[in-house]
């Protein structure tokens, strides 16, 4: 028996298929979830994928946050279920306040698509156990609202408690405070990041790297040994 990992499709989700593929390539069972459905179909973990849910109108993630499926995700996340928010999924997580802070338009105002170097600062979360703390990885980054912001107190607290999980290396691509690319909640089960690990799981496509596969193998190991 392998783990069941759900991927939510909101109207306007784009990288949902890719997340499902990454789950499959890691050896877990991918389960598509629908935004209108409160039922999570007994999945063991949930991925909120990238894209432009509701066109990113109003603010990225602001409308999806109210989807029925999110009621259950919020509840289950509180009970410890692992949740990963990638890009738009991260934006949804900040809008729901499952993660602190907010996302703003990139400081250069452009959409940016590039291969991004990151440091995995915390290998203790549900989604990063297969990396070593301090390890550098390269995965694609692609967004226009990727500038992470929070007040100083929150930032200090994130730093102090090891909840800054990923940091940009070789140049901050969007003006994110303290070079933050991704963070976790206090319990470490909810993780959000702007770059896209699900686009770095096959050598043949994308940037030709597989540095992102570790996200999905990490969670799989966690779930089947749990």
């Amino acid at each position: 028996m392998t783990a069941r990992i759900g991927v939510v499709t909101f109207p306007g989700s784009l990288d949902d298929r890719d997340a499902l593929r990454a789950v499959r390539l890691a050896g877990a069972e991918p389960v598509p979830l629908w935004h209108r459905d409160r039922n999570l179909q007994q999945v063991d973990a949930v991925v909120l994928p990238g894209g432009f849910s509701y066109g990113d109108y109003l603010r990225a993630g602001a409308i999806s946050r109210f989807a029925p499926v999110m009621d259950t995700v919020i509840e289950q996340a509180g009970a410890g279920m692992p949740v990963l928010g990638i890009c738009n999924g991260f934006q949804v997580l900040t809008e729901t306040h499952l993660l602190p802070g907010a996302m703003l338009r990139n400081n250069h105002l452009h959409f940016i698509c590039r291969d991004q170097k990151l440091r995995v600062e915390n290998a203790g979360t549900a989604w990063t156990a297969d990396y070593a703390a301090g390890q550098d990885i390269r995965i694609p980054l692609k967004n226009i609202d990727g500038r992470y912001t929070a007040d100083e107190r929150t930032l200090d607290e994130l730093e102090a408690t090891g909840r800054v999980v990923f940091r940009y290396l070789d140049g901050n691509p969007n003006g994110s405070l303290r070079d933050i690319a991704g963070i976790a909640n206090e319990a470490g089960n909810v993780v959000g990041l702007m770059p896209h690990p699900e686009h770095a799981v096959e050598a043949l496509v994308g940037t030709g790297r597989t540095d992102g596969l570790g996200f999905f193998t990490s969670i799989l190991k966690r779930l089947i040994t749990a």
Partner: protein, 89 residues
């Protein structure tokens, strides 16, 4: 310092996908009675000098040629009292 506000809104006949998305979401969030939502841009300009006719004429030109594309947008220019913004009570 004086503040001039330029509001830029899509012309009424032009589709406003953002406003539409907001409006469609409202009933789901439990807000009723909103017949229409339009979303536009608000520019707050802080002037170095006084807000006289010359300054306003300049800002009007700026709005017309730069801040708005009058093919699809309308704009208004107005002087605003500068007060501390906070949440409306």
């Amino acid at each position: 310092m004086a503040r001039v506000v330029v509001d830029v809104m899509l012309k009424p006949e032009i589709l406003d996908p953002q406003g539409q998305a907001v409006q469609r979401a409202l009933p789901r969030l439990g807000f009723a009675g909103i017949a229409d939502v339009r979303q536009g841009k608000r520019f707050e300009l802080e002037l170095e000098g006084p807000v006289d006719d010359a300054a306003l004429a300049q800002i009007n030109t700026m709005a017309e040629t730069f801040l708005a594309n009058t093919v699809i947008e309308d704009f208004t220019v107005r002087v605003e009292e500068v007060a501390d913004r906070g949440e409306a009570k």
